[in-house]
Point group: C2
Chain length 266, copies 2
Amino acid sequence: MNISIVKIGGNVIDDPEKLEEFLALFARLEGKKILVHGGGVMASKFGESLGIKPKMVDGRRITDAETLDVVTMVYAGLINKKIVAQLQEFRQNAMGFTGADGNLIRSSKRPIGKIDYGFVGDVKEVNTDLLDLLLAEDIVPVISAITHDKKGNLLNTNADTIASEIATSMAKKHMVKLYFCFNKAGVLIDEHNDDSVVPRINEEIYEELKKDNVIHSGMIPKLDNAFAALQKGVSNVWLGKAENLLLAAKGKKSGTNIERHKYDLY
Amino acid sequence: MNISIVKIGGNVIDDPEKLEEFLALFARLEGKKILVHGGGVMASKFGESLGIKPKMVDGRRITDAETLDVVTMVYAGLINKKIVAQLQEFRQNAMGFTGADGNLIRSSKRPIGKIDYGFVGDVKEVNTDLLDLLLAEDIVPVISAITHDKKGNLLNTNADTIASEIATSMAKKHMVKLYFCFNKAGVLIDEHNDDSVVPRINEEIYEELKKDNVIHSGMIPKLDNAFAALQKGVSNVWLGKAENLLLAAKGKKSGTNIERHKYDLY
């Protein structure tokens, strides 16, 4: 089957009005679909109101035990359930998940290297049989960025990575399109100008843009995830604003389409 | 099929050690099963640490918008996901739910009468097809005490009521046993003495014990739920301590077995 996997980021999630607009669009996206969400900004705000300061290294959250509790409450509780309830109103049979639910995503705690990330999981296995079962029933899985190690531990996991891992796992049997919705119009030549979108990018262009420091910091793991997904069989990867999701799905000009090396096309 | 529906209360949920012991027992319960949980005490504590005072009338929580957020975070996030992850460790394919997920439990907001309960839902419909599908796959649904109105709203709902409503809905097609685990050894003649358990109770005895004020306050809605379930086709209802769940399941002496009127037996 054809499956769309859509990842939304904090800029949409943190704004109830934007979120509702996005979910109305997402509801109109045709065919089988899966939604993946993070919620980092809201978790940070909420943690702070409990006196827990967010701890970040290189844009990654350090997850100690109390931060894990906050993340679990905010991602799997508040955000996930609000999205599910709203999609139900829009006649989508949404069902919320963490990786622990139905053993959907098994991960292993990241080994301590230079940095101890704490309760952070690296994805090991996606339960594609479960997703097949749910999608066949026209259920829309809504997946929050938490996994588990099957040893009783929940683990915080990057939402882009989860979207990418689900996409590549499902691509073994299905035709998968992956949409990363974020706060910019796509890959930009001038990061402050939404009109400077690069409409198509491949690995050669990516390397050049990194060398010239046009692409840097948070965009790098995002694009690495995108290219990894393409290399593992995902048909299309798109990057852009949530409000342009339907344009992208219809192949109209918007955002950045990510493509593989030319030599991979042979 | 035969289905066990088990409800656990705050006294187990609030104590990580007790919870783990209970979940190890629950994992050993044979056959198809569903777990229902509340978590009111933890939600109250947590709300207070955010400066939100619990508002109660007649033992029922008044749920304003900020309390609903807290309840959603604590029930559907923290508690539900910890239970699911722990059960996964015990080789149970647990999957967490609110009533919004997969439209599992649709409710309607309680009309404002003498008391305005706020965002509280009265159960209207249980999606038994979804439960049938999951149980057939050996999935163990873990259901937190939140429902939805299919109009985008989450609604706080009494966990005993949810257990009872699921039991009666599933009893239309299946043989259902309902277990209420709580902080006492069963229905007690002397509420401070766990040795004073009434081993069997029917509606006549219930009416007498209410008249004599032996059964009062929080026990009344609990037993009302139990009798309602029996009247609607549930095979057995049991009330007792979580640690005696397996004894009860094996028909050994423990807790209180709830039975219908004598005249219903003809």
